[in-house]
């Protein structure tokens, strides 16, 4: 039986049992105020039973934990498959593998004729009906990861600062050499300021397919098979070559800190605070 129905019947059973006690036991044994209390409890379980239709995932943890912070799960929401081409999740005893397929579309409406625009819209309409199983098409705009580039600039600034400090400590420093180092330091700082201040965005399109299995490898292989079918559908409709996304590239579709890279955004927040203070 569906666990949701099981929970509903369980809670409804408790409600009816309490109601029977409140109604059937004579007033000489159970005084009216106690009966009303039992009735209130019975009706509370009745409300809980009805709520279990949509909130079954909350009711049991809430009753068990009786806390303001209800932990529905303390586990990671997913893990990466060993082949690093899908993410896996365990739910209701099944393993569910999800594969992400990149759709390389580099066309803009500004360079299309009216006929091409209509064709493109028709292709997009056809694309969403390509699979009988649930498939998710996503267009994602995310912040370009400039963490590595910012680190190179930071290293260059540190090196220029060290050079400047070394030259200033020396008694017989060539003023021209010192000016050159100062100029280099100013240049790196300007580049760093410009690069970190501006928010650069990228746009990408991808498709997500999922498949479940009793074993992890079964779910992964079924998801990969679905992905291959999906890729041939995409290729025939759009005339592009889709590819399965692997490794860390998947993370920018599932993890917020990859959508907005940590170091890149920290620099920007710092700049905004500096500007507000000034």
């Amino acid at each position: 039986m569906n666990p949701k129905i099981f929970m509903f019947l369980g809670l409804l059973g408790v409600s009816i049992a309490l109601l029977i006690i409140a109604l059937a036991v004579p007033l000489s044994i159970l005084p009216s105020p106690i009966k009303i209390l039992i009735l209130a409890l019975s009706l509370l379980f009745d409300i809980l039973a009805f709520s279990s239709r949509h909130y079954s995932y909350i009711i049991m943890p809430a009753l068990q934990q009786r806390s303001k912070r209800i932990v529905l799960s303390n586990e990671e929401p997913y893990w990466m498959s060993t082949s690093e081409d899908s993410i896996i999740k365990r739910e209701k005893g099944y393993f569910i593998a999800s594969v992400y397929i990149s759709i390389p579309i580099y066309r803009s409406a500004t360079e299309m004729t009216d006929l091409e625009k209509v064709d493109f819209s028709r292709q997009a309409s056809k694309l969403i009906g390509v699979s009988r199983d649930p498939v998710r098409f996503t267009t994602e705009m995310y912040l370009m990861n400039k963490d590595a580039y910012l680190q190179i600039l930071r290293d260059a600034i540190s090196a220029a600062e060290n050079d400047q400090a070394r030259l200033m400590q020396q008694k017989s420093t060539d003023p021209e050499e010192l000016d050159m180092v100062k100029g280099k330091l100013a240049m790196w700082k300007n580049i760093f300021d410009n690069v970190s201040k501006v928010q650069s965005l990228e746009l990408t399109s991808y498709v997500t397919v999922s498949a479940e299995g009793l074993k992890e490898y079964e779910a992964v292989s079924l998801a990969q098979q679905k992905a291959r079918e999906m890729m041939s559908g995409i290729a025939s409709i759009l005339g592009v070559t889709p590819s399965i996304i692997t490794g860390k590239d998947i993370l920018k579709f599932v993890e917020p800190e990859y959508l907005i890279p940590f170091s890149t955004i920290t620099e920007q927040i710092n700049k905004n605070i500096e500007e507000e203070v000034i």
Binding site: L43, F50, Y142, S210
Partner: protein, 277 residues
């Protein structure tokens, strides 16, 4: 209302009916209190059935209840954002339902209308994207339907409308004229859908939603930024003729889970979204 909803509602309200049937067993004076409790329960059940997306967040906000759907994630008490704390930086994620306006399915559309919408779609989409300067995801969760099954369904509906039409035509009166016009319009809308399937278009069940993430140095800052982003998305996506509303409550948890695995069938998701959308 689907069968499951009717079953839940009927059994839950049965308990309330039993209370009313045996009010006398609570003793004189106390039966009124029992009746009041039963009425309150019935009202709560009906409200949960039709407006749980208002009641549930109100309840969690009043009592300050938060949820942890997975490690490092937190659904805040207003039930409209999921926050992740990464080394002291807070990432708040929120969702918007993006339903195509329902009138587009009800009105008679000729080929020229459809053509002009298809022509404008790429430009409108690019305008919407270009006016957005923060990360977001536009999701279309879809599944192709069985063509024959959908066709049979439409043909059944058309037959029923034709039967209604023949009944109306037998009656006389001015009121009938408007009813006949309405039925004829319904028949032509259904026929247009059948024609589209005959021309090779695939019937699709789909759910569209938008996800956006904002960052802040505190949870409040991140959630405030998220709210600002959501308002901006509502403006920039309005050119796409979408009905956009912020997702709160149980749908938020459901959409969060979709980031890691898709649902097994689209029907179960459609029933979850039927109220708020």
């Amino acid at each position: 209302m689907d069968e499951e909803e009717i079953m839940y509602l009927a059994f839950s309200l049965l308990v309330v009916l039993i209370v009313f049937a045996f009010l006398s067993s609570f003793g004189k004076g106390w039966s009124l209190l029992a009746a009041i409790l039963a009425v309150i329960t019935a009202v709560i059940i009906i409200m949960i059935n039709w407006a749980d997306f208002i009641i549930f967040p109100f309840f969690t906000k009043t009592f300050g209840i938060t949820f942890q759907p997975a490690r490092d994630y937190n659904i805040i008490k207003t039930q409209d954002a999921i926050v992740k704390n990464v080394n002291g930086l807070f990432y708040a994620t929120g969702f918007l339902t993006a339903n195509v306006f329902s009138y587009s399915f009800k009105e008679e559309q000729n080929d020229q209308d459809i053509e002009s919408k298809l022509l404008a779609a790429p430009d409108n989409w690019e305008k919407a994207v270009m006016s957005t300067n923060f990360p977001f995801k536009f999701h279309v969760l879809s599944a192709g339907n069985d063509i024959q099954q959908v066709r049979d369904e439409f043909e059944g509906k058309r037959s029923y409308q034709e039967f209604q039409l023949s009944r109306m035509q037998q009656k006389e009166g001015a009121a009938n004229e408007s009813a006949i016009t309405e039925i004829r319009r319904n028949i032509s809308v259904i026929q247009a859908k059948i024609d589209r399937i005959s021309r090779g278009e695939k019937p699709v069940s789909s759910i569209m939603y938008i996800e956006t993430t904002a960052v802040g140095v505190s949870e409040k800052a991140a959630v405030d930024n998220l709210t600002a982003q959501i308002k901006q998305l509502q403006i920039s996506m309005s050119s796409l003729d979408l009905q956009i509303s912020r997702v709160v409550g149980r749908e938020l948890y459901l959409l969060f889970k979709f980031n890691f695995s898709l649902p097994w069938s689209i029907k179960e998701v459609e029933s979850q979204f039927s109220k708020e959308g």
